[in-house]
């Protein structure tokens, strides 16, 4: 089967790649695009380690076909920091020990960022339900939820 040619935007940069028709977006990110920050924990949409945004919508990249990226704007963990400057969520995760092994961290950060973009003032319950699609086996979620809530508070303050 001939490979498909896909033109897309990833983390603000125009990108082109070739893929098989049945490749997932996660395959394309981790393969031809060399963006291995998105992880595969299940390939079935159940762990969130592969979380990215497509036109600002949070999606599991393992559930999206690579060919579907054509003409869309994707964001991955690699686009979260501005050069050397970490995103406040990244900084807070480090300060609060909100990661242990770190395999879920990319997905957690992308999902948390997507939450704060649409809801800068989430309750604990809202954070917990928003992140319910991102499994973490190491932390018991406590420090992750706290890090997200504290970052939200600081970002609200900074925005004033």
């Amino acid at each position: 089967m001939a490979k498909l040619h896909v033109s897309t935007t990833i983390n603000g940069e125009p990108m082109e790649f070739l893929c098989e028709p049945n490749d997932t977006m996660l395959d394309a990110l981790r393969g031809p695009l060399g963006l291995t920050g998105s992880k595969e924990g299940c390939a079935s949409g159940d762990c969130g380690a592969c979380s990215i945004t497509v036109d600002d919508q949070l999606v599991c990249s393992c559930l999206m076909l690579a060919a579907e990226a054509d003409g869309h704007e994707l964001r991955t963990i690699e686009g979260m920091a501005q050069g050397e400057k970490l995103h406040p969520l990244q900084q807070k995760f480090l300060e609060q020990a909100a990661l242990q092994c770190g395999i879920c961290t990319s997905g957690m950060l992308v999902a948390s960022d997507a939450l704060l973009r649409r809801n800068p003032n989430p309750t604990e319950e809202e954070v917990r339900f928003w992140l319910a699609g991102n499994l973490c086996r190491c932390t018991g979620y406590d420090k992750i939820v706290r890090a997200v809530m504290e970052t939200a508070a600081e970002m609200r303050e900074a925005a004033q």
């Binding site: 981790r30 992880k39 299940c42 991955t76 242990q100 092994c101 604990e124």
Partner: protein, 750 residues
């Protein structure tokens, strides 16, 4: 040894050295690397729970264009069944048959062949073309079935009490005389409990990338809880000497004990050797669930007797644990830890290792101990109820202390168990009122902890900073703790200490990351190496000042004259001494290898509140406090994280996780949708109270931390459910259908 308590970095939640890489996606885990010319490996697995392999025909697969190599058991070194060859706690007889089925396939998912091809799709297609001639045999999954006299036998050579059997081992721990003890008891509670197999549930599937040169030089890139274990097992199973295998530890995406053995590495090595190409293998989640881990399912009977004043006089436990397809369930943890928090004069604790047609169990966080504690701590709850004593008061009254002879053997030095119970009793949580349909439960737990072999190098860079190399994969922040330890001793900012994990050919042998041993052992070797470095630096300062080396001390990052008599010299900083190193004898560094001794057991006491939705049968944990004696929290953030993570796993084990087998002897829920681990919205905040009773045999007072927090959880939850409903559950998980059923039975009885 003096335990230093007034510290600048020890006790600080510093930023981990590998942190930025992990929040930006740069960190390279097992599946994140490629090599030029790389091809893909795939495993063909048995569909049967039990089948004799009469023959394997790989010719069609080999003829498929794109296929570069095929391996079967013939390509893996065989260890005859009649002679045990041990590597740590693993017997290579079983390892060689677990990585690749030999005479028989023993569980669905058991590898029977592996293929390497130019694409994953071709490798998968080739697997379909392999013809295996199976003679399907009867099988058993559950303990009760496997120990029946007419049960299908997994290993004909395994005998118990003179007959072929699925009981692969028995261990017995004895203290005093239980018959005499129970004769004195005024209240006795005896109950039987069951738990289901649960998986460690690490989010990163097993993966490796391996290249073998024409000269046999092998490079393994994989994530594991021990690159030296990977090297040793791969060497034994492929025949390549250890000196030719460089095992590089990738970042590891969780292990919890499940990555203390190899699955893919020997297969990928042989595929790479045969094909002459680097081979990458990555398990799917389904393969992880079917063929790796889990921990044992169990059936335990526990009997405890006390006098009316609440003094426990005798205790007896019998623990049947599933081993899966090969011997080696964690009966030592179940039989050996369960009664250890208590001072009981008469104890008999027996464990049975039971084979059945399931995947071979792997270590899971305090292996065996949570299973035993579930039974013992629930019985204690009933005993407290019968005696009308507060359950924590009952534990306090019987608590083990310094000088108590533990049921598992040793006489305790100064331990912190009492402090954990007192902290739990005094916590705000324990005194808080409960709402409707809410209940509170408590439980305690113990784990041995461990020392063992560790190596480290401390090198001063030419610009006066520090690189520490250790041999233990960092699974939860140990690099950060090591940076704290080294920076503290050198009196410099922790950001000047870079901590890396060496591969097998660059750092000395270091045993597994497991058993809660890493910080205990590595802080000890790093301390010694840093002290040697400091001694060298002091000598060099003495040389410059032309005074006696004894007259130099190291303080706040610089050599200084020790007191007025030593003379008056301006301090020489680490940077200045590094600058002068070439003229003063060359590079400064030290390397230390030790078999570390002096690990002390750890104790925890947990308080759990649940709320039961009686319409849906859902138990929700609404508040949780974990108290633990951690010795010394070198990095409190990651210590708390260990407690919180362990509690999260225990809540899953208690309420929702289980391997479900269908009538064909196969796991029916091999994925994260149906194997239900706690998600963020399932859990409350998990409060921690760190009790610090320093380990006197460790330079920083460290005790292991990671295992203990899983041990008490299931009992704490079960006791809370009982407190809420007045109904006791003797089987895990307490999932909604089972809770509803129990409520209906109770209602019908009324």
């Amino acid at each position: 040894m003096n335990v230093v308590t007034n510290n600048k970095w020890i006790g600080q939640s510093t930023i981990r050295p590998d942190g930025v890489d992990k929040v930006t996606g740069r960190a390279a885990f097992a599946a994140d690397t490629t090599m030029p010319g790389m091809i893909w490996g795939k495993v063909l697995r048995s569909p049967h729970p039990h089948a004799r392999i009469r023959g394997i025909d790989t010719s069609k697969a080999e003829a498929l264009p794109g296929v570069k190599a095929v391996v079967t058991a013939k390509d893996i070194v065989e260890f005859p069944v009649d002679k045990s060859v041990m590597l740590g706690i693993q017997d290579m007889r079983w390892m060689c048959r677990n990585v690749m089925a030999r005479e028989k396939a023993l569980f669905p998912g058991h590898p029977v062949a592996a293929v390497a091809a130019t694409s994953e799709a071709i490798a998968a297609k080739a697997c379909e073309l392999i013809e295996v001639d199976y003679e399907v045999l009867p099988w058993s999954i559950e303990i009760e079935d496997a120990i029946k006299p007419d049960a299908p036998i997994l290993h004909e050579f395994n005998t118990f009490e003179g007959k072929p059997s699925n009981i692969a081992g028995k261990m017995e721990l004895k203290k005093g005389d239980v018959a005499e003890g129970f004769a004195r008891a005024e209240v006795v509670v005896e109950r039987t409990f069951t738990t289901r197999a649960v998986h460690q549930g690490y989010i990163e599937p097993h993966a490796c990338l391996i290249g073998v040169g024409a000269d046999g030089k092998t490079t393994i890139w994989s994530s594991s809880q021990g690159q030296f274990m990977v090297r040793a097992m791969t060497s034994l199973l492929t025949g390549i000497p250890q000196s030719d295998i460089r095992a590089i530890p990738a970042e590891i995406g969780g292990g919890f004990g499940g990555k203390t053995i190899v699955y893919l590495e020997p297969l990928a090595t042989m595929l790479a050797k045969k094909s002459g190409r680097p081979v990458k293998m990555v398990m799917t989640r389904e393969e992880v669930m079917r063929a790796t881990g889990p921990t044992s399912a169990s059936t335990s009977t526990v009997k405890i007797g006390a006098t009316k004043d609440g003094k426990i006089v005798a205790a007896q436990g019998t623990f049947y644990l599933q081993a899966g397809a090969f011997p080696g369930s964690p009966i030592r943890g179940a039989a050996g830890c369960s009664f250890s928090p208590y001072d009981i004069p008469h104890v008999l604790s027996i464990g049975y290792d039971v084979l059945s047609n399931r995947s071979k169990v792997a270590a899971y966080r305090a292996p065996g101990a949570p299973i035993g504690a579930f039974a013992v701590e629930c019985v204690l709850d009933e005993l407290a109820e019968a005696l009308k004593i507060d359950p924590l008061a009952l534990r306090l009254k019987n608590a083990a202390k310094e000088g108590t002879k533990a049921s598992h053997g040793p006489v305790y030095p100064r331990i912190g168990y009492v402090e954990t119970v007192e902290a739990a009793m005094n916590s705000e949580h324990y005194k808080a009122p409960l709402g409707k349909l809410q209940g509170r439960g408590v439980a305690s737990g113990f784990w041995f902890n461990a020392g063992g072999e560790s190596s480290a190098q401390v090198n001063i860079t030419e610009d006066g900073n520090v690189v520490v190399t250790t041999g233990h994969p960092d699974i939860g922040g140990s690099r950060a703790a090591i940076a704290n330890v080294c920076a503290e001793l050198l009196g410099i900012d922790y950001r000047r200490v870079s901590v890396i994990i060496g591969d097998t050919q660059t750092v000395g042998f270091s045993n597994l990351t497991g058993g809660s041993r890493v910080l205990f052992a590595s802080a000890m070797v790093v301390t010694q190496a840093t002290e040697q470095v400091i001694a060298t630096l002091c000598k060099r300062a003495a040389k410059i000042w032309e005074i006696d080396p004894e007259a130099v001390t190291w303080e706040e990052g610089a050599a200084r004259p020790a007191g007025a008599n030593a003379g008056k010299f301006p301090p020489l900083t680490l940077k200045e001494l590094a600058d002068k190193a070439p003229a003063l004898g060359g590079p400064v560094g030290a390397s230390v290898q030790l078999n570390t001794q002096g690990a002390e057991g750890g104790f925890g006491t947990h308080v759990c509140d649940v709320e039961v939705d009686v319409d849906l049968g859902i138990v929700r944990v609404v508040r949780y406090t974990a108290v633990q004696d951690v010795g010394r929290a070198v990095h409190p953030g990651y210590v708390e994280g260990q407690l919180q993570g362990g509690v999260g796993q225990g809540i899953g084990w208690a309420l929702s996780e289980e391997y479900i087998y269908n009538k064909d002897g196969k796991v029916d829920n091999p994925g994260f949708l149906d194997y239900r681990m706690p998600v963020c919205s399932d859990l409350p905040m998990i409060d921690t109270i760190l009790v610090e009773v320093p380990n006197p045999k460790h330079p920083q007072g460290v005790k292991g931390v990671g295992e203990v927090p899983l041990v008490p959880v299931m009992a704490a939850v079960a006791n809370a459910v009982h407190n809420a409903l007045g109904k006791r559950f003797y089987a895990l998980p307490m999932s909604p259908p089972k809770v509803l059923e129990a409520l209906e039975v109770a209602q019908a009885a009324e």
